[in-house]
Symmetry: C2
Subunit: 229 residues, 2 copies
């Protein structure tokens, strides 16, 4: 079981993309060790490029690097978790407003497809995949708003949100957000900035309200199993 074929990825960006996706759909969980050798084995590259990837992810807040100890998937504290959603609450409503002003039929179609995939993922009981798509939806809105700087920031915040959700989500009600996304889609379709802004604001509040920002949780799994299994 040691050398299944490595994942096709040569560049550091590929590795970042793969690992980030794995974190987004909760195949890789907060606290997991990302050993340079192991990652290098899995992707079939040398440690040099692995280190580039890990440091890049560290800059995005997805990974924390401890000197002489290695890289770990970040475990945001309760304070950091709050901060992430506070910043999102500052950035995203206004961004949704701008997106609603600019959204073209092509944009709407793309978001529709996004939501359809989310539904399919939920139907197939792939909660992780649905979560990843849900995050991408938010980033896509920033793209539609034609705000690349904000898009990059929201990308980071969505990544960290995945970590926060992995740590602090209370499962009592399954994720019903696709409803919120559908409502947002309507606002975009009708180019209604006011409603888009309000809906986004409410959506983010909803998300935070479903978190339990008191206790922490702990889990550990093999990185190799998470990525290749």
């Amino acid at each position: 079981m040691k050398d299944v074929l490595p994942i096709a990825a040569s560049s550091a960006e590929d590795i970042v993309a793969h690992l980030t996706e794995a974190v987004h759909d909760h195949r890789v969980l907060p606290g997991m060790k990302l050993s340079e050798d192991e990652v290098g084995d899995i992707f079939g590259v040398s440690r040099t490029v692995v280190r580039q990837a890990l440091r890049a992810m560290a800059h995005g807040g997805l990974v924390s690097i401890e000197r002489n100890r290695g890289a770990f998937v970040a475990k945001p504290s309760v304070k950091e978790a709050r901060e992430v959603f506070e910043v999102r609450a500052l950035l995203e409503p206004q961004t949704a407003r701008a997106a609603a002003e600019r959204a073209t039929p092509a944009d709407v179609a793309l978001l529709e497809d996004h939501i359809a995939q989310e539904h399919a993922a939920l139907a197939a009981d792939k909660a992780g995949l649905a979560l990843k798509l849900s995050g991408a939806f938010h980033v896509e809105i920033a793209r539609i708003a034609d705000q690349r700087t904000i898009e990059a920031f929201i990308g980071q915040l969505v990544s960290r949100s995945s970590l926060v959700i992995a740590l602090y989500w209370q499962r009592r009600n399954a994720l019903c957000e696709s409803h919120a996304h559908h409502a947002l889609l309507d606002a975009f379709r009708h180019n209604d900035p006011d409603q888009a802004e309000d809906l986004m604001k409410g959506h983010l509040l909803d998300l935070v309200s479903q978190l339990n920002l008191r206790e922490t949780r702990d889990e550990t799994t093999s990185l190799r199993d998470a990525l290749l299994g």
Copy 2:
């Protein structure tokens, strides 16, 4: 002139700090080439650590890396320049509000010292230094607001703002912002969130209004001269 003593800096973070400072006070200008060998010589480290530093700065938007061509100090486009200040307008007024709510006498004293240094720099005709301090002032406000995530973002935005100012500033009136900072300080001293928010909003609008977001400018200087001369 080839081997003046290298700047004392061993770690990648030191190099990032030095180079970032140099950019902030306009000793290093947009478009300047940051050759790995040259930077390594200047700081007395190997290319390995230089690359770490340059990639880190690239993630912050201060440097742009072109594959097989090298690293250059970023030259934000007019669109990026607008975006930077649009994001700042979203983040900073609210942050100033939070800071005004939390500011302690110690915080106020620290900001006072900051402003005093700014004045001294302006009096000594060190416009670059004054600019750097002015940016640090904004970051300090985020720290007082106890928002580390926002602090990091504003740090990035201030960095890029330095580049924008280097490219698009129209010099017709010298930078009189220390006045705006003084007004903000008063709002913090009296714990007046409303006024702090308004002042910050106006301050940012002022800054943008003093930019000429139409033409670009070009200049080139030796990195070594900029850092060591």
